[in-house]
């Protein structure tokens, strides 16, 4: 079995496992199956990446050659994202057991089945080389995600899920419209073929409209300001585990899709010319960075605060994209990866607190530094990463982002990045201060340290934040390869 043949299994394994899972009763087995499936998937993704960095892998389902059959086509960019998605899922799952037991006590089989569906959907989007297939997987993952969010114990979770459903569907529809336009114009759905045939027809308004629809559609899924409005509630009211998983994966995949279309299907020298994309994205990115950080500074609910922080962090990624350079894209991919690390760690820490205390409100964090030192220290350290302190992963991606901005002579962007970093200090600081420098009110339940099952995965991620802040070979190498794959003249055959 070659790597090329192995590669599709990272999508198929979770897909098949979800069917099994849906039928399994109890609390242990669904989780165990999910864990095994996810780890398998992650291992496959990990094996794929080095190979994909060398040459583009292509696998045609059912041996139908590409234009007719469905092709999986993997280069450095999607291998990188796939590894991220599968990897984050694999790290999150050991953490999930306790948390899910607490927050979703019943019908866990269905819950984990949804999770696996979402995972395989995300991986499918990533690996697929076929536009329509991307839409299909998008719908799979989205629908599963709506279900997952709806599992939140808070009644508002239902409403949040419903809103996300509406907006998600709008986004997916836009994508579908865009793809439809392209199909009408070129007669193919295969991304490589699209890239090949589009130059002939790209001066038509239909193609331009297709690009616009795809960008707005993916912008919605990506939660790019001002299309982010679904995100805070969805993250806030979803079960902690779902938030942890989504924060690290869903928006990243949406970004990937957007990049895939903008950079490889339409060539960047076209898409950034025909639409004022660079300007629009830059404005929206900066606005997102600011608005997200700004609002985060005032949020009393920590999950919600982190959700807004995500909006800001998405801004950083989009900013990198808007610079249209190898360094900029590298920064975007780096941040895509690093942000997943840090935000997952943060959500895990908050989830752990919720597990122990039952609430994610700032006021319930008071005095926790003494009683839950490991959890809160993990939060603080991951917070350092999101601030962008040197030796953390966050620093590396910000460094590249600033480099990219400077390469373009955009001084003011550097200033803006630093200002938003300072804002990050503020919102992280609020938690630290509450945890260590305020007394625990007498009427609050005394909380002890969390179980190791929650702590270990959290700390693994925290450690990864520092590891990738010091040893940047994998991340910078992967991100650079991904950026080059996207910018390096379309899909190489």
């Amino acid at each position: 079995m070659t790597i090329t043949e192995l590669m599709p299994f990272s999508v198929l394994v979770p897909l098949i496992a979800s069917l099994v899972c849906a039928l399994l009763p109890g609390r242990f087995w669904p989780w165990a199956v999910t864990l095994v499936a996810t780890i398998t998937s992650a291992v496959i993704a990990a094996i794929t990446l080095p190979a994909a960095a060398q040459v583009t892998l292509s696998y045609a389902f059912g041996n139908w050659p590409p234009p007719i059959g469905i092709e999986y086509r993997v280069d450095a960019a999607n291998a990188f994202v796939a590894l991220l998605v599968a990897g984050m899922a694999a790290v999150a799952l050991p953490w999930a057991k306790k948390s899910v037991d607490r927050e979703v006590p019943e019908r866990q089989g269905a819950f984990y089945a949804l999770f696996l569906l979402a995972l395989s959907g995300l991986l499918g989007i990533t690996l697929s080389g076929d536009a329509f297939n991307i839409f299909v997987f998008l719908e799979i993952s989205s629908l599963a995600t709506y279900g997952l969010i709806a599992h939140g114990s808070d009644r508002r979770a239902l409403l949040a899920s419903f809103r996300y459903l509406i907006m998600g569907t709008v986004g997916a529809t836009f994508l579908l419209i865009g793809i439809g336009f392209l199909y009408v114009m070129t007669g193919t759905l295969n991304l490589a073929d699209l890239a090949e045939r589009l130059p002939e027809v790209r001066d038509t308004s239909t193609v331009r409209a297709a690009l616009a629809f795809i960008i707005v559609g993916m912008g919605l899924k990506l939660a790019m300001l001002p299309l982010h409005l679904w995100l805070p509630n969805a993250y806030t009211y979803a079960p902690s585990f779902v938030t942890v998983f989504l924060a690290g994966t869903a928006t990243k995949v949406a970004l990937y899709v957007m990049l895939r279309f903008v950079f490889t299907v339409f060539a960047p020298d076209w898409s950034f010319v025909v639409l004022p994309l660079s300007t629009v994205l830059m404005i929206l990115a900066v606005a997102g960075m600011f608005a997200g950080s700004w609002v985060a500074m005032f949020q009393p609910n920590i999950k919600r605060m982190l959700a807004y922080s995500s909006v800001a962090q998405v801004g950083y990624m989009v900013l990198g994209v808007s610079l249209v350079s190898i360094v900029g894209l590298t920064a975007a991919f780096l941040h895509l990866f690093n942000h997943a690390l840090m935000k997952t760690a943060l959500f895990m820490a908050v989830g752990t607190v919720i597990y122990q205390v039952g609430s994610g409100h700032l006021k319930d964090f008071r005095g926790l530094g003494r009683t839950m030192p490991w959890t809160l220290t993990a939060f603080a350290l991951a917070g350092l990463s999101i601030i962008g302190v040197p030796l953390t992963a966050g620093f590396v991606s910000k460094w590249y982002l600033i480099q990219a901005a400077l390469d373009q002579g955009q001084w003011f962007l550097v200033v803006l990045i630093l200002i938003t970093s300072l804002m990050a200090i503020v919102y992280i600081w609020r938690v630290i201060e509450a945890a260590w420098f305020q007394e625990r009110p007498g009427n609050q339940p005394a909380a002890g340290e969390a179980p190791l099952a929650l702590l270990i995965p959290t700390w693994v991620l925290v450690a990864l934040n520092f590891y990738f802040g010091i040893d940047t070979r994998l991340t910078v190498g992967g991100a650079t390869a991904a950026a080059e794959a996207l910018l390096g003249g379309g899909m190489a055959p």
């Binding site: 509406i166 907006m167 509630n233 700004w294 609002v295 500074m297």
Partner: protein, 563 residues
């Protein structure tokens, strides 16, 4: 600093002083007498030459330079240390003893310094050691006076520092010989020396602080600080015309203000100013005779001024009073003090047979030889004034005059002994001026005991006395203090500093209050606006989300598709 043929006297003194805190009672007293004797011994062994050269921080130091000029001052400083130590034997305050000896060591360090860096170090040490002699008086007044003293000398110190640095840059050396720089270096170093020499208007530290020093401390102070300055002026600024006039002015300024003084030691302090004026004028004249006069006058002055301060100190020690208006009629109870004081008085007034006569007349003669009529007259007036206040007014009002009702004991034996030694030396030098002249760097071509000099001096003094007797009722006095330039920093300076400080603090507070206040208002406003239900943060209805989506799409389509 120690070689086989040279031991730095300061080092001996400092080392010996370190032992003082460990000793008590009789042992300490013995040690205090032995230590200055040891220094005298070291000086006895010293041979002319330069010792203790070292390269330090890129500068060439000569920590010990022995030549005739430095030896003159070395001898007299060591002698007065011995006298002062004996005078202070009864004092049971080790801080004072330590301070006095270290002060003496610093003064010796200055006169033996062969370069300006070493000089500066000892110069500053002199300040921080001597100030304790003021402070240990223990009163609130001396506490404040000590601070003023410290600050003024610190000013002198920084001025000297700046001057030396400029000098170093200008000439490329730090050797201390005649200061032949131009521009600021010259003037700054001169100004620093002049501060220590108490040249008006830089003199007020002296008359402000010395009267508030301890009884024994004032003896050392009267001898050391101004005379090191005289030494440095002789060494560095001979023949500086400005000094002639300043010196002559000083002599008059001192006697005039002495007339206004009610405190006996303040009166004597003004006479230090006056007497140092002679020396400064001598330096300014710059001839060999004048410089010899300055050096020998410094020598004699140290001894008789110490004697005068000891006498006045004995009175203060025994009566607890220091004001002329509160003293009187003490001769019955402190006759020895009276007589010994008078020896000092006639010495400072330059009566023949006493030490002042053989040195002061030399300076006056030098002015005459130089043909400076006005200077000569000014110095003559000052001579009259000196006699008037130190030998007539002060003793009259203290020991004679109206009986104040005080019934003190005679001063203790050690005080009287110290005074006797000083008096004996004054007398000895007066009779055998050759002993003193032999120490001087240049051969002295002057004889004080010619008929002409004798006659003039005696006429001047005795008719001054006559005028005093006739005009006694017009002599000013009474329980008053007189203003001097210290007003500027006792009233003006503190106000300026506190006003500036207040301004800065107020501005700082105001800025911070406004800034923080605004920040607070802003944050609370933001908290309200952007909290959970703020405009940006609240949960938007689906319609709004759709609206935004539509807007973005419409924008993109408008700008991108249908152009």
């Amino acid at each position: 600093m120690i070689t086989s043929d040279w031991i730095h006297p300061s080092l001996v003194l400092i080392a010996g002083t370190l032992v003082v805190p460990l000793l008590k009672g009789r042992a300490m007293q013995t040690w205090m007498v032995l230590l200055p004797l040891a220094v005298l011994g070291v000086l006895w062994l010293a041979q002319p030459g330069e010792y203790g050269q070292m390269a330090f921080l890129g500068m060439e130091l000569v920590t010990g330079r022995v030549d005739d000029l430095s030896m003159v001052f070395g001898w007299v400083f060591s002698t007065v240390l011995l006298i002062g130590a004996i005078y202070a034997l009864h004092v049971n305050d080790q801080v004072q003893h330590v301070a006095a000896f270290l002060y003496g060591a610093s003064a010796l360090g200055v006169v033996f310094a062969g370069d300006l860096i070493t000089l500066y170090v000892f110069w500053e040490l002199m300040v921080i050691t001597s100030v304790w002699l003021i402070w240990r008086r223990g009163s609130e007044v001396s506490f404040n006076a000590g601070f003023r003293y410290l600050v003024i000398h610190a000013v002198g110190g920084v001025v000297l520092l700046a001057g030396i640095i400029m000098f170093q840059f200008e000439t490329g050396t730090t050797r201390f010989d005649q200061i032949d720089a131009d521009g600021p270096a010259f003037w700054l170093i001169l100004a620093a020396f002049m501060i220590n020499a108490a040249v008006p208007p830089l003199h007020a530290w002296l008359t402000d602080a010395y009267p508030e020093a301890t009884v024994t401390g004032a003896v050392f102070m009267s001898a050391l600080t101004t005379k090191t300055a005289v030494y440095t002026l002789i060494r560095g600024y001979p023949g500086t015309e400005m000094l002639v006039w300043l010196g002559a002015f000083m002599t008059l300024y001192g006697v005039t203000f002495a007339m206004l003084s009610n405190d006996i030691r303040r009166l004597l302090s003004y006479h230090i100013v006056s007497q140092v004026g002679y020396m400064v004028a001598g330096v300014g004249l710059g001839t060999a005779l004048a410089l010899s006069g300055s050096a020998s006058h410094a020598f004699t002055h140290i001894l008789y001024k110490a004697l005068l301060f000891m006498g006045a100190g004995a009175v203060i020690h025994m009566t607890g009073r220091s004001k002329l208006s509160e003293l009187g009629g003490l001769y019955r109870y402190m006759p020895w003090t009276f007589v010994l004081y008078l020896v000092g008085g006639v010495s400072i007034s330059a009566f023949p047979l006493f030490s002042g006569y053989v040195s002061k007349t030399m300076i006056v003669e030098a002015a005459a030889v130089d043909g400076r009529a006005l200077i000569w007259l000014m110095l003559a007036v000052a001579s009259a004034g000196t006699f008037l206040s130190t030998t007539l007014k002060l003793p009259y009002k203290t020991w004679l005059g109206e009986d104040s009702g005080l019934r003190p004991q005679e001063a203790p034996w050690n005080m009287l002994l110290a005074m006797s030694i000083a008096a004996a030396l004054c007398f000895l030098i007066g009779i055998f001026p050759g002993l003193l002249y032999a120490l001087l760097p240049e051969p002295v071509d002057f004889d004080a005991y010619t008929m002409s000099v004798f006659l003039k001096e005696m006429q001047l003094l005795l008719f001054t006395g006559l005028a005093f007797c006739l005009l006694l009722k017009y002599v000013g006095g009474g329980p008053k203090i007189s203003l001097d330039v210290d007003w500027l920093y006792r009233r003006g300076g503190p106000r300026l500093i506190s006003a500036t400080g207040t301004a800065i603090v107020t501005a700082d507070r105001a800025v911070r209050r406004v800034a923080l206040g605004q920040l607070m208002r802003l944050t609370s406003h933001m908290e309200r606006k952007h909290g959970r239900d703020g405009k940006l943060a609240k949960s938007w209805p689906i319609g709004s989300m759709a609206l935004w989506t539509a807007i973005v799409l419409a924008m993109l389509l408008t700008f991108g598709v249908w152009r």
